[in-house]
């Protein structure tokens, strides 16, 4: 007969997760030698046929980065990163000048994405989701480009956008996250290689979900992608982002920047399922996910909504934020962050209220298992002119087992007396009582944990597009999967 306290042990066993995307694709690559200096940046820029303004911008970013130190305020611990040992550009070797159409994409690439559940075959895709597939430093294919082009929607790799729409890039690049923003954003600005660009013209409701799937493959390579989404007045787009990487004992750096801009009455819904390799059960390997994501509600009545499910990465450092400039604009942040084994997450949001009658909602659900450390860090700032602005924040933590931790750092700055803020927070443990209740009703321990965790995340999952919600639920199940005692 088992004794009290065994549920802790069972949870330990349960949280031994298995990573299903840990394979490596064997491809010839075109890469630059490890290390970072101005020549490497010039080389990256030249490889991409960039206009001079962009090279100049990169160099300014690099020179600024040299003056910065890596931030240490996050509640995460990791060995020092040697920025000179990282490879800053690695691309699968192109046959000619890179694929011009889907038919020309290397079958090995297609197979890799197929294996990850991402079909790049337009005919095979079930529903209305267009995909930009990014492999290490470059985009290998973008589907439905032509179809979207018919209604004026631009959806392409960042590199293509630089060549084909330089005026839009020049106008918007760095307008939300300047290259001086922070250490990792500066680094990204200097060396970013690819990512996605979306432009939704005035009044267009984008008829399909746009998505980018990021895959890190090469060893010792950093992935520095850049995504820019611009929604012109009265437009709407729902954008999805997914990511995976092979299992390796060494840590790999992923430092992305995402910028969103909404004009009057426009809306961007940005959803992420982040499943980078989290490292093994002993905490070896895994991705360092140091990301700057920010949206600017430039126009009146505009809305930016971030939803994220963060289950991967050894370390996550990420605060998708909203600058609410336009009057009556709305910012939302819905987050589930799961840390298991030795994973660490320091994530949250900043809601900067500048315009009048702006509102923001923050729902954060942190789940810690194993030795995982989960931190919510958030700032709500109500500017002087943000009359009648409102914020509602709710931060809940769920602990599985007794070796993990949950931390909450909510910061508030209020510059006017008509603003209203509400904050709720809770920390709970999956109770023996809850598990016993479920099991007494015939559910296995595994199903019981999964059910309780899914219930805990309900408010966030509700925000995800259907297809993604199902994937997210499965992912949480897998992340908590293991042998049940």
């Amino acid at each position: 007969m088992k004794k009290a306290g065994t549920s802790t042990k069972v949870i330990e066993e349960l949280t031994n997760q298995e990573y299903r995307y840990g394979f490596v694709t064997d491809v010839d690559t075109d890469s630059v030698p490890p290390g970072l200096n101005e020549d490497v940046i010039r080389l990256i820029s030249a490889k991409k046929n960039e206009p001079p303004f962009l090279l100049e911008w990169r160099l300014r970013a690099y020179r600024h980065w040299l003056t910065l130190r890596e931030p240490k305020w996050a509640h995460v611990h990791y060995p020092p990163i040697d920025y000179q040992s990282i490879v800053y550009y690695s691309a699968p070797k192109a046959k000619k000048d890179g694929p011009r159409s889907l038919d020309e994409v290397d079958p090995e690439m297609l197979a890799t994405f197929e294996k990850l559940g991402i079909s790049l075959n337009e005919q095979k895709r079930l529903s209305g989701v267009a995909v930009d597939a990014v492999f290490d430093s470059v985009s290998v294919a973008t589907t439905f480009k032509e179809k979207l082009g018919e209604i004026g929607v631009i959806f392409c790799s960042f590199s293509d956008a630089v060549v084909n729409h330089p005026e839009l890039i020049e106008k918007y690049l760095g307008s939300v996250v300047p290259y001086t923003d922070n250490f990792f954003a500066s680094l990204n600005s200097a060396v970013f290689t690819d990512g996605s660009f979306c432009f939704i013209p005035k009044g267009v409701r984008c008829p399909m979900e746009l998505s980018t799937y990021f895959r890190i493959n090469a060893a010792n390579t950093g992935q520095f992608e850049r995504t820019l989404i611009v929604a012109e007045a009265g437009s709407y787009v729902s954008y999805l982002e997914g990511c995976t990487a092979p299992m390796r004992d060494e840590n790999q750096l992923h430092a992305a920047v995402v910028e969103l801009i909404t004009h009057d009455n426009a809306q961007i819904k940005y959803s992420t399922v982040q499943n980078w390799y989290p490292g093994d059960a002993q905490g070896r390997g895994g991705i360092f996910n140091f990301v700057t994501k920010r949206g600017k509600c430039l126009g009146v009545n505009s809305k930016i909504s971030w939803s994220q499910v963060e289950t991967g990465s050894a370390i996550t450092w990420k605060y998708p934020s909203c600058i609410l400039l336009g009057d009556n604009s709305i910012g939302e942040f819905y987050s589930v962050a799961l840390t298991n084994n030795y994973q660490q997450a320091d994530t949250g949001t900043k809601m900067i209220h500048i315009g009048k009658n702006t509102t923001s909602t923050i729902i954060s659900k942190g789940i810690s298992a194993g030795h995982g450390q989960n931190t919510y860090r958030g700032l709500v700032k109500m500017g002087k002119g943000a009359k009648n602005s409102r914020n509602y924040s709710q931060c809940d933590s769920l602990l599985l087992g007794d070796k993990c931790g949950a931390h909450t750092f909510p910061y508030v700055e209020v510059g006017n007396s008509s603003s209203r803020l509400e904050h709720e927070a809770s920390t709970s443990k999956i109770g023996e009582d809850q598990l016993f209740y479920c099991r007494q009703r015939g559910l296995s321990q595994e199903d019981a944990v999964s059910m309780i965790v899914n219930g805990f995340c309900k408010e966030v999952f509700r925000q995800l597009p259907m297809e993604f919600a199902v994937e997210a639920q499965k992912l949480l199940g897998v992340s908590l999967e293991g042998s049940v005692g």
Binding site: M1, F436, R439, Q440, R441, G442, L443, I452
Partner: protein
């Protein structure tokens, strides 16, 4: 034993169990035949919930001695969920909340795990809804509760009704009701009792744990047992409940026979 003789659903012999380092059950015997309803009464802290939890397989309780046979097979080596799937149901004294999971979804998952175990086909959501709505009507449970998270924000009475509803949907072979009557007003009590009575079946046995006689005027038991200091100290027919009500539990303590196994110092040997 002859073949015609009824096989008991539950046979408990000399059961001993500890929780939090303290021995609570100290040699408990109990035999229940199919078709019977047994009441277990006893003062607070006498070990009623401990017995219920041990039978349901709560891992926080350590069984230190004795034997439990369920339908002729050893029960103690079977996991909690297997016991549930084999037809043991516990209506909790303190039902647990599960935020974010609707009552209907939870109960369907539960029913399906049992059906699957029996090798039967799972019930689809539409058939399930028809079934659960029918049963909810019987316990006069507001249907809107079915869409709300399990027990979250339910009143005490709603939680107890939800337990009975689950029992009616899952149709267990052995139902253990742990103080399902406590905290209910008389109307709710009658509804719960009629639900239980509707579940009486020659193939099913029920253990009704209570410390008031009140419930037993509506659920008339075949046998009444008095639990004291971790043992059954008195058993009788339904009249025993009335006698207890009249004389109080102190009366059973005096009659309490000496424990068969080594005694703890706090129980005086007579």
């Amino acid at each position: 034993m002859t073949g015609s003789k009824k096989k008991p659903i539950l046979e408990v012999r000399g059961l001993r169990a500890r929780v939090g380092g303290k021995e609570i059950l100290r040699g408990l015997d109990l035999t229940i035949q199919a078709g019977e309803v047994h009441a277990i009464m006893g003062p607070n802290g006498s070990g009623k919930s401990t017995l219920a939890n041990v039978l349901a397989g709560h891992e926080g309780y350590e069984v230190t001695g004795g034997q439990v046979m369920y339908r002729g097979k050893d029960l103690l080596s079977v996991s909690t969920e297997e016991r549930a799937r084999e037809g043991i149901f516990l209506a909790f004294q303190y039902p647990v909340e599960i935020p974010g999971i609707s009552t209907a979804y939870f109960l369907r998952a539960s029913l399906n795990s049992i059906l699957k175990h029996r090798g039967e086909e799972e019930i689809d959501p539409i058939d399930f809804l028809t079934l659960v709505k029918k049963k909810a009507k019987l316990v006069q449970m507001d249907q809107s509760l079915l869409n709300r998270p399990v027990n979250e924000g339910f009143s005490g009475g709603e939680k107890k009704r939800n337990e009975i509803l689950q029992m009616m949907v899952l149709e267990p072979r052995l139902a253990i009701l742990d103080e399902t009557d406590s905290g209910l007003d008389i109307d709710a009590l009658k509804i719960v009792a009629s639900g239980v009575n509707a579940m009486r079946d020659p193939e099913r046995a029920m253990i009704v744990v209570t410390h008031y006689q009140r419930l037993l005027t509506y659920i008339v038991p075949d046998r009444v047992h008095v639990l004291s200091h971790g043992r059954i100290v008195k058993s009788g027919g339904k009249e025993l409940a009335l006698e207890l009500e009249e004389k109080g539990y102190a009366w059973t303590e005096i009659d309490s026979p000496a424990p068969a196994a080594p005694t703890s110092p706090d129980v005086p040997a007579s």
